[in-house]
């Protein structure tokens, strides 16, 4: 356990991973509460064309991912109109965004003398062990700032997420909060691109929050449990990846997947037991 800490790449991975895990766990709680699971998946995919266009234009990939994610979020809002962004518009937009990704990929591939560089792959799948000190610190600081903003708007955001109509009538700026939330989500995704990759961020975003919501009903306890679970998964994932020859992202998502399936199965079994125990005395007198 201690020997792995002497490596720089582990320390950087731990730093960036922890920051990301906390933000993802907290934001994920709202993503699930607001039923934005599909939407956030789309925003993660957007990272792909976003990062590629940034590389083509020669700007920082983070900027490209952030800008694209934000544009898509706004696009979804416009297409959906007044109703909640629905399944179909979300899906249709996602399909097109992926198509744009293909275009950028072809431009990128032909631009860099035909060499199929792994930059695109890294955007999608990340490389937590390949992260440098400066990048790790950037992720940590951005993560900290995001967390502070999120926690400061947590209560009105929760209100607006659960009951937008009532929240609006009580003077909560629901629209503004929606926009701020989407911006925070876009930042988190941009931040995640380097560390765990856009697609795998999703594992930290959705599943710990889902497990937390299954275990506790109190919103703030749930939020912190979600962040804690996300953190534990990340640490365990990094440790596993250090000792076994598998990619970090695989260890991480495999852990998350197993944890989720176990919780669902255990809860179902328990519920059935309780149901049967209750059913017995009722049958006895009859």
């Amino acid at each position: 356990m201690i020997e792995m800490w002497q490596y720089d790449f582990i320390r950087h991975a731990m730093l960036a991973g922890s920051a990301l895990a906390i933000v993802a766990g907290l934001i994920g709680y709202f993503v699930v509460a607001r039923r934005l699971i599909f939407t956030s998946d789309v925003l993660s995919h957007v990272a792909f064309p976003g990062a590629l266009i940034a590389i083509i234009l020669g700007v920082n990939p983070l900027l490209g991912v952030f800008g694209f994610a934000l544009l898509t979020a706004l696009g979804m809002g416009t297409l959906a109109g007044k109703t909640r962004a629905n399944d179909v518009t979300t899906g249709t937009l996602l399909a097109w965004v992926l198509g744009i990704g293909v275009l950028f990929l072809s431009i990128y591939a032909s631009g860099s003398s035909g060499a199929n560089s792994s930059a695109g792959i890294n955007v999608l799948f990340g490389s937590l062990f390949g992260i440098h000190a400066r990048e790790a610190w950037v992720v940590a600081i951005v993560g900290l700032l995001t967390t502070i903003v999120l926690l400061s708007i947590a209560r009105p955001l929760l209100f607006a997420s659960l009951d937008p109509a009532v929240a609006a009538s009580r003077g909560v700026p629901v629209r503004l909060l929606n926009i701020v939330f989407l911006i925070l989500l876009a930042i988190t995704i941009a931040e995640a691109v380097q560390a765990v990759g856009a697609l795998l961020l999703f594992a930290l975003l959705i599943t710990p929050a889902a497990i937390a919501r299954r275990l506790v009903a109190r919103p703030f306890t749930g939020m912190f449990l979600s962040a804690l679970l996300s953190l534990l998964f990340t640490w365990a994932g990094i440790t596993l990846a250090y000792y076994f020859p598998y990619p970090v992202s695989f260890c991480l998502t495999a852990l998350v997947f197993v944890a989720y399936v176990s919780v669902v199965v255990v809860q179902r079994v328990l519920r059935q037991r309780i149901y049967q125990r209750r059913a017995r005395p009722a049958h006895a007198p009859a």
Binding site: I37, L79, N86, A95, V102, G120, F202, Y246, V256
Partner: protein, 306 residues
């Protein structure tokens, strides 16, 4: 995947004579195969996509496409036919998502979470398989975005058979499936096997993905499933017409996509998704415009009834 196209662009220019253009398009064997395979895929994706959109399961379709990535990569690692890996993984994931996310009503948050979790896990599993098989980045891209121009004769046959099989199953379950999708409670009371149909449809969706992955890739099969169907449902509320429209649109989109990509530098995936998206926007705009035109009448009627 754009390399062969860009090289050919110098030699080939579209002619104003449509017959001549068509002759040019189909003069190469790989283009004939691409057109054939694309046609079969569109024929299956159109109707299946119609039901997917109607049932509100776009996210599920998207996730099953990602599962295809793991399936294809796993098959490469094990040295078996990608179609086998695609089918096995697709079926497993479809059943797993069904079991994890099932909770009475459809479209619950719980099923979205189950879908998301399975999606991410399959992605990373696919990544693992690729590392184990020590493939290069190019292979990942091939799975993700397809290789339209590298389809062999055998692939075309496999795709045709699987598409026919899928269509046959869909034809048998179409009406009860429509009933269940629109009105699950009444359908259940009338003795329609709701759960059986739900799982059957999941497997059909997995099959459609498996058929299409080699040609248009994991990420773009979704475009062929969702966008034509969504467009069709904007244009008509009649189920039979909707299915026909959805299929026709899928066909048009893939033919146009292949043709444009052949004569220009743009990759097939980009052209296909962009044309499909433009159709969708037009259909939406048309519906929005007509809804606006009707508005005064609707208000008058609503006011009259209440």
């Amino acid at each position: 995947m754009t390399m062969p196209t860009s090289a050919l662009t110098l030699l080939l220019q579209p002619s104003w004579n449509p017959v001549e253009t068509l002759r040019m398009l189909l003069s190469y064997h790989f283009m004939q195969n691409a057109f054939l395979a694309g046609t079969f895929i569109a024929l299956l994706a159109g109707p299946v996509g119609y039901f997917m959109v109607l049932r509100g399961q776009s996210f599920l379709g998207h996730a099953l496409a990602h599962v295809g990535f793991a399936g294809a990569a796993g098959a490469v690692w094990l040295g078996i036919s990608p179609v086998v890996g695609l089918l096995v993984f697709g079926a497993l994931a479809a059943l797993g998502i069904g079991a994890l996310g099932e909770r009475g009503g459809r479209l619950s948050v719980e099923s979205d979470i189950a879908i998301g979790t399975v999606l991410v896990f399959s992605l990373s599993l696919g990544l693992l398989f690729i590392r184990l098989a020590s493939s290069y980045a190019a292979n990942i891209y091939a799975f993700l975005f397809g290789t339209v121009l590298g389809i062999r004769d055998r692939d075309v046959v496999v795709i045709a058979v699987m598409a026919a099989l899928g269509l046959l199953v869909l034809a048998v379950i179409a009406r009860p499936l429509l009933f269940v999708s629109v009105d699950p409670e009444v359908a259940a009371a009338r003795g329609v096997p709701v759960r059986l149909l739900a799982y059957a449809f999941l497997l059909l969706l997995a099959l459609s993905v498996a058929v299409a992955v080699q040609v248009i890739g994991v990420l773009l099969i979704f475009a062929l499933l969702v966008t034509p169907a969504a467009t069709a449902q904007q244009l008509t509320t009649r189920p039979a017409l909707g299915i026909v429209l959805s299929t026709s649109l899928a066909l048009i989109v893939i033919w146009l996509g292949l043709s444009v990509a052949y004569f220009t530098d743009y990759p097939v995936g980009f052209v296909v998704t962009t044309i499909a998206f433009v159709f969708f926007l037009l259909a939406r705009a048309r519906r929005g415009w007509r809804a606006n035109a009707w508005r005064p009448a609707r208000i008058a009627r609503a006011g009259g009834v209440r």
